[in-house]
Symmetry: C2
Subunit: 180 residues, 2 copies
DNA sequence: TTACTGACCGACCATCCGGTCAGTGCGTAA
DNA sequence: TTACGCACTGACCGGATGGTCGGTCAGTAA
């Protein structure tokens, strides 16, 4: 029998990413996790707290992507690896990206995760910038921001906007662009 | 005295973009627009309907951006104009972009605007693609998706993630990239 | 056996919020 | 003057939802 606390987290993750945070009443989480209301509040201070815990867990995924490249590769190769692992994760862990997207922008949920988001985004910026520093130190900051925007935009469009999104082709196109 | 219906729309637009749709009770709209609950339902079928009407209005902005270029310019120049007018609008009409961002992703609001979003996004794809068709018909589709992803990503990062975002520099960088 | 802990339950509460509705007053056409 | 329509009001309703609380029970240590 799976641990009930984990069960709550799993179910809530799924529901939050599919239906959004505001639109997922705890009663639904209880029902689908076969758990009582009381138990949720026994393990988590509040609904918000549950979200924070779930969101924190996804940080691991981001770090994993950022560390896909090996240290002794040439910088362009690092970028290629980064793109590759990003697209791979985007396809295989769709749910986590969906959750992040749903939750990072709307002001109420955003406010509640603000510190985590800030921390994470500067981590990402730093790791990307350290690569571009090796390529073009003069413009590394702008290059990093643009690079990140491309990946964020792809995520946004793929999960939120377009029905038939040629992920693979866009991946190759970006790889070509950055492999030069 | 300004028309009360407009007053409702203005106030609601502001509040929805600042606080998100779910997190803005109609009671607050009433209060800030100096209007009774009843009047909102006199002018709009429901809260959802109010959102649809507001969201529809922003479509005009998108069309405006898409049509910034003149017909007889070379394609690369058209792209540059497109980028220019996009960044200009992003800065001057921040509120509308914020609203779109807040409302397009979360599944519940998304569902209710689905047809409008679909319509709009294929309009955008078409207009961008018609430019890339003149440059590289072979790859025009992927080029268009990537181009759009870049702009969406910039919007996302600028409004949602990073505090100090070098918009101007990113704009120039993109212009250089596409002016070749 | 006893005493204690902590996972777990579910009835209950307070509040909030979208939506309704009966009614008021003003402008206008007959 | 009357009658009608329409912008407008605000008290009210019903349902949903986050959160509380008293309590049960299994496991375990003494």
């Amino acid at each position: 029998m799976i641990d009930k606390k984990d069960q709550i987290i799993n179910v809530a993750t799924k529901l939050f990413s599919e239906r959004g945070f505001e639109n997922t009443p705890l009663s639904l989480v209880c029902e689908m996790a076969n758990v009582s209301k009381g138990l949720i509040f026994h393990h988590f201070k509040s609904k918000n707290d549950l979200l924070r815990e779930i969101f924190s867990k996804t940080t691991g995924l981001i770090i994993e992507i950022s560390e896909a490249q090996e240290a002794d590769q040439p910088p362009r190769q690092k970028l290629v690896e980064l793109i590759r692992s990003f697209f791979a994760q985007l396809e295989s862990d769709k749910m986590f990206f969906q959750l992040n997207l749903n939750v990072m922008l709307p002001p109420n949920t955003r406010a509640l995760l603000n510190d985590l988001i800030k921390e994470r985004s500067s981590f990402i910026l730093d790791s990307v910038k350290s690569i571009f520093d090796e390529i073009d130190p003069e413009n590394s900051l702008v290059l990093s921001y643009t690079f990140i925007a491309e990946l964020d935009g792809v995520t946004f469009d793929y999960l939120g906007i377009f029905d038939e999104y040629p992920l693979k082709q866009i991946e190759t196109h970006l790889i070509n662009r950055y492999a030069e």
